[in-house]
């Protein structure tokens, strides 16, 4: 919880927030959303109001993958979707942070669509590098998911007071480099954020982690820092990624970074194996390493609550 004790460069200090929060016991709950204190009224009322909005993240379904690490990636995607359907509270929508397919084949996209649509939720996609390796390098993805997007498929939308931004960092990767957003997308992002108030909670999602998780394996985004600089003035920023097929979280100032599990196969922890290739684990361990994430936003709270749910265990 050390992040709570640090003063932020701009906005109200975390210590202040905690001080305000202690008043909750006396009846009025004060909290801070993006540096702006908000009264949520008396406790009972506050509890009623803060039921919040929940959305889901699924990632790296790799439909078409059939290697020893998981011979049936479509089957485990279906298990994940069944988990979504069984949730007691219906999520507002779903985001998919890329690598829908393994080889960008028509049938893989069709199969993925068939299963994912069973959740009966709106799904907001961003592509992974495996989704744009068709002959026309991304056309198939854009034909399916690129409606109302810019460039290689980036876009933003608002829901329940939260501003969501889907970024693409898997196109035109350069030898020796990491993920790339590119100047055109960064210019678009700057413009997209311009009209937003600093108190608006922001959720950014992209396939490859925007921060450098492990450079040796290419797990990071070369110009991710430029995107984060544009997000600096906001009081609540949540960055959701996939690509590394394991849960990783870090908090830096107002920004929470989180990566979701894959629904297809696990990958090793950074540096723990000769390469980041699919990790074969005993059959009874596999579903403990696959899963989905649910993210809940409660009005008035800075941090979104992220809960990772494995397929099993």
């Amino acid at each position: 919880m050390s992040a709570h004790d640090e003063d932020t460069a701009d906005g109200v200090s975390r210590r202040k927030v905690l001080e305000c929060m202690t008043w909750a016991g006396t009846g009025v709950l004060w909290t801070v959303a993006g540096g702006i204190p908000t009264s949520l009224g008396i406790m009972g009322e506050a509890a009623a109001q803060t039921s919040g909005m929940t959305f889901l993240q699924i990632s790296d379904s790799h439909v078409g993958f059939d290697k020893p690490a998981n011979p049936n990636a479509l089957g485990t995607l279906e298990e994940a979707i069944n988990k979504v359907k069984a949730l007691p509270a219906r999520p507002a929508f779903m985001i998919h942070t890329g690598d829908i397919t393994h080889l960008s084949k028509e049938k893989e996209f069709d199969d993925a669509q068939k299963i994912i649509s069973q959740a009966g939720l709106d799904v907001h996609y961003v592509p992974g590098e495996h989704d744009i390796i068709d002959d026309e390098r991304g056309k198939m993805y854009l034909d399916r998911y690129g409606k109302n997007t810019k460039g290689a498929g980036w876009y933003s939308f608002d829901s329940n007071g939260v501003h969501f931004v889907g970024l693409v960092n898997v196109v035109d990767l350069k030898g020796g480099g990491l993920g790339t957003l590119g100047d055109e997308q960064l210019a678009w992002l700057e413009n997209d954020l311009k009209a937003k108030s600093a108190s608006a909670p922001i959720v950014v999602f992209a396939h490859i982690p925007l921060w450098v998780v492990y450079e040796t394996w290419g797990w990071g985004t070369d110009d991710g820092a430029k995107a984060l600089a544009l997000l600096k003035r906001f009081g609540s920023v949540t960055v959701l990624n996939g690509h590394i097929h394991q849960v990783m979280q870090k908090v830096e100032g107002n920004v929470t970074f989180h990566t979701a599990r894959s629904t297809a196969f696990p990958q090793p922890a950074p540096g723990s194996a000769p390469s980041p290739g699919p990790m074969k684990v005993p059959d009874d361990k596999l579903r403990g390493l696959l899963g989905i994430a649910s993210v809940t936003f409660k009005p008035g709270s800075e941090r979104l609550a992220i809960v990772d749910q494995p397929l099993q265990g």
Binding site: P68, S104, G277
Partner: protein, 119 residues
Amino acid sequence: MKIHDVRRGAFAAALLLGLALGLASAAHAEEIEVKIDNFTFAPRTLTVKAGTTVTWINEDDIPHTVVSTGHFRSKPLDTGDRFTFTFTTAGSFQYFCSLHPHMQASITVEATTGSLNSH
């Protein structure tokens, strides 16, 4: 692997023969394999004569590509898939995997006109 070794052996024999006789190399086509395993190209650096055909074989459980910007670009290679390119001109060719760009390697192609003794 075996074929590869046999070819390398044959090449070494030819090289020794060429050196022994002090003759210029014959401009015959060579074939060389590059393995893709554990997210690396092996060998990572390679020097070949112009006219050499190089075949990349993906032995990983994940697809890779072989891309040399402006020169060649393979389709995604699934496990066991191959990509072949014949180098006709001398030069240095840097290449990488466009899916995992930290995977880099290079091939130097030498003109066939030089004598074997020059290197």
